[in-house]
Amino acid sequence: MNRNFYLELAARGVRMPIGADLVLHEEPDPEAARRDGLSLGRVIERAARRWNTPIAMPLMDLRLEKIDLLALASIPEHEAEAYQFSAPIDEQTMAALCDLSSYSFCAGSIARDQAIAHIATFPDLLPVGMVIGPFSLATRLMRDPITAVALAGMAPDEQPSPEIELLLQCLRASEAAVLRSVRAQMRHGARAIVVCEPAACTAFFSPRQLKAGSNAFERFVMGPNQRIRAALDQAGCDLIFHDCGELIDSMVSDFAQRLHPVILSLGSSRNLWDDARLVPSDVVLYGNLPSKSFYSDAAMPVETVVDLTRQLITRMQACGHPHIVGSECDVLFVPEAKHAILAKVDAIMSCAAPMISNCSTP
């Protein structure tokens, strides 16, 4: 792990959106490009060069691990996104879902991995992989994950319910799926992995329950992510941790101090300059301009984006914490709002300090 590389980028004032989706939609056939490794690799390369960053941030497609996981239970790709388990999973299916030796991946995952290999051919770019976090993936496998988490977080005398049993199974299967994906991406040359855990937030974990002593966040989020982190460490791969959900301070502290990523990326609900006190000085904070509202000129005019960017830069400089200016999440392409979104990304990139060029990878 080379923390200095990221700290230097922050010190140089690098800015970058998570914007591969915007570039992907410049392709004549974006869906074809998404499933073709070389085309996708070129998209990611173009995105990095456009925003003048050595961090080749990949496309944020958080569907892939679910597709690959459910394929092991013979659920076809076109049914995967909507598929949810409604009752505890039988042992045979669980064994298949948790099989770490499986190397069966969908076209999108294969393209993602080949794109990483393409990026790895450029010495000035850092090949970065991406996975959905184990808890967030588990929530996508269930009909009602919030209730299951809430029931698990209730008083200790609460009897184990089928909902909790299913949650634990989904979490085990998800951790295996994430590990398979991480290993595949590292084999293809990823030197950092972004773990996206947007469901690890107050929508799923009640601060009221946590305050009352519930260990649900520890069991369902921290435990699995610490094991993923250990796998990355073992391979010498950097962890970039992303969570754009609504968080409380203890969640930010846990991510920053116990997972100790090279970069911590948070949503716009957080004031990064306040969070700096929770985050070790060798963890770069990333973000967190409100890109989810960029589609609307009424809700988020360009002038507001400029003001927010300047305010963020000023406050982060004042608090002295290493920071890379960027978006709160993936900046998605919305056809009818294309120009509004691009104008705001341009505003982030150009509204203050000088641009950095020719950054070298570690």
């Binding site: 909507a82 919030i146 009640s206 009221r208 989810k292 009424a298 809700a299 009818e336």
Partner: protein, 213 residues
């Protein structure tokens, strides 16, 4: 005057489904009518849950647990309501728009609406405009609620409103929209009648719309 069943009220506020079920059974056995149980205990309980949420003492998990407790009570009351020929005050159709599979927010709003005495017809997630139109034509609701979590699926809200207009039924219903990226400005822009910034405010907005519908 309706007398509140404090056990049922407490069970819903604390999100205890088993206690809510037992308290409802006891109330029915004691001869309390279903509409009285709803109006005297369930509606005040869900109002209190909404208040606690607005005060940031409750969070989404508490809303869902309360909704689950309320549902366990409604399971017992629904057949009695149907058998007696009674009707709940207002009917709401709710769904997540086409292309969007996220239904947690929609489910919370549906639960809270039901707990507030509305008849809720949940169309599910990834609902195409024509399904909203068919439901309006067949079920004659007072309000249509649409949810979307993603910026890329938000345009389906506009498309659905246009489909209601094309089918000639837009004037019959009020339309409320919500979801993480949705704003009041967007609601105004696409011609929705209302907007809920969160589940609790969505319920308040539906109540207001029904008052003027």
């Amino acid at each position: 005057m309706a007398v509140s069943n404090s056990e049922l009220y407490d069970a819903i506020v604390t999100g205890d489904a088993r206690k809510a079920h037992a308290a409802t059974q006891a109330a029915i056995a004691a001869g309390t009518g279903p509409m009285e149980i709803i109006s005297a205990s369930m509606v005040p309980a869900m109002n209190e849950v909404g208040r606690l949420y607005e005060a940031e003492e409750y969070f989404v998990p508490e809303l869902l647990l309360a909704g689950r407790a309320m549902k366990s009570a409604m399971e017992l009351l629904r057949p009695l309501i149907a058998a007696s020929g009674l009707k709940l005050a207002n009917r709401v159709i709710i769904g997540t728009v086409k292309g969007d599979l996220h239904d947690i927010g929609k489910n919370i709003v549906a639960s809270m609406l039901e707990g507030s005495g509305f008849e809720v017809i949940d169309l599910g997630a990834d609902v195409p405009p024509e399904k909203f139109v068919a439901a309006v034509e067949e079920r004659d609701p007072h309000v249509v609620c649409m949810s979307s979590l993603l910026t890329v699926t938000m345009p389906a809200m506009r498309t659905t409103i246009q489909a209601l207009e094309s089918a000639g039924v837009r004037h019959k219903v009020k339309v409320l929209i919500g979801g993480a990226p949705v704003t009041q400005q967007y609601a105004d822009e696409i011609g929705a009648d209302g907007y809920g910034d969160n589940a609790s405010l969505a319920v308040s907005a539906v109540k207001k719309l029904c008052a003027v519908a």
